[in-house]
Assembly symmetry: none
Homo-oligomer: 155 residues x 2
């Protein structure tokens, strides 16, 4: 149960200080220092755990007074967010990214647990493997976007 990597801990910390706020601003070097890791590890945590698929937008600025801003967003509510998401999907998605999106929809209460599980099944490697890995990712993208459109326009 206590097999957390330092990345997991940093992720939890960032979500903690994000709390109920819409966004939070950090200094990369401060966080890195706080957890005694190299600064680029903060980039790693953000890149792997605060993606649009996970329901986060991240902006940053370099130079003096620089910052990293993490913003929590709803995938289907905001047209711009949905567009970013669809753009991120493009015509090809890996299983992992698709799973993240479904989990985010569940956490936003857009879908129930069971609905999410069914979606995951239809997006899984297991169900979609058709020999060609690229074709599989294309197919997954089509199914996922169909799901999103269905959810978007239904209610």
């Amino acid at each position: 149960m206590e097999n957390k990597s330092i990345s997991d801990i940093i992720e939890a910390y960032l979500k903690e200080i994000l709390g109920d706020s819409a966004q939070v601003e950090i200094r990369r070097s401060e966080i890195a220092n706080h957890f005694d890791v190299v600064p680029s590890q903060i980039n790693y945590v953000i890149k792997t755990r605060f993606t649009i698929q996970n329901g986060y937008l991240v902006k940053s600025k370099r130079g003096g007074g620089g910052y990293i801003r993490i913003e929590r967003v709803n995938l289907l509510d905001d047209v711009n967010v949905l567009n970013s998401l669809i753009q991120a999907i493009g015509d090809s998605v890996r299983e992992r990214d698709a799973f993240d999106i479904v989990r985010t929809l569940y956490e936003e209460n857009v879908i129930t647990r069971r609905e999410g599980d069914l979606m995951l099944v239809a997006l899984s490697k297991q169900a979609l493997s058709i020999g060609d890995s690229k074709a599989e990712d294309h197919l997954r993208a089509r199914i996922l976007i169909s799901f999103l459109n269905r959810l978007r326009y239904e209610s």
Copy 2:
């Protein structure tokens, strides 16, 4: 009955530490070390004894902080309906037949209306067309059967 293999012992141990919890997280190397076997034997035990047919779901993560998580799930009672449907599907279904099956599930109260709608999205020609009509029907069969297998249990 007295000649337990080491795999049997590891199985019993895992079920022991699972206890009444819904799930348990282990480190493959720790367990392997504890019983003085090669790590891949843990995979063998899990693959042969913690299957979904036996009511277990297994997830894992590699890399630093990696783990294997074993979760116990409740198998449901609609097995008869599901089995007969899987029989009927075989390895190929046309869109129309898939739609009929989903409707049957709805009428049998195995799924909700909304769950059915999502399933239909993933089974539609629109989402699945991949040029080859036969391949499409095979694919649809795999997705549909995956759906049905997922409906066998709740988590």
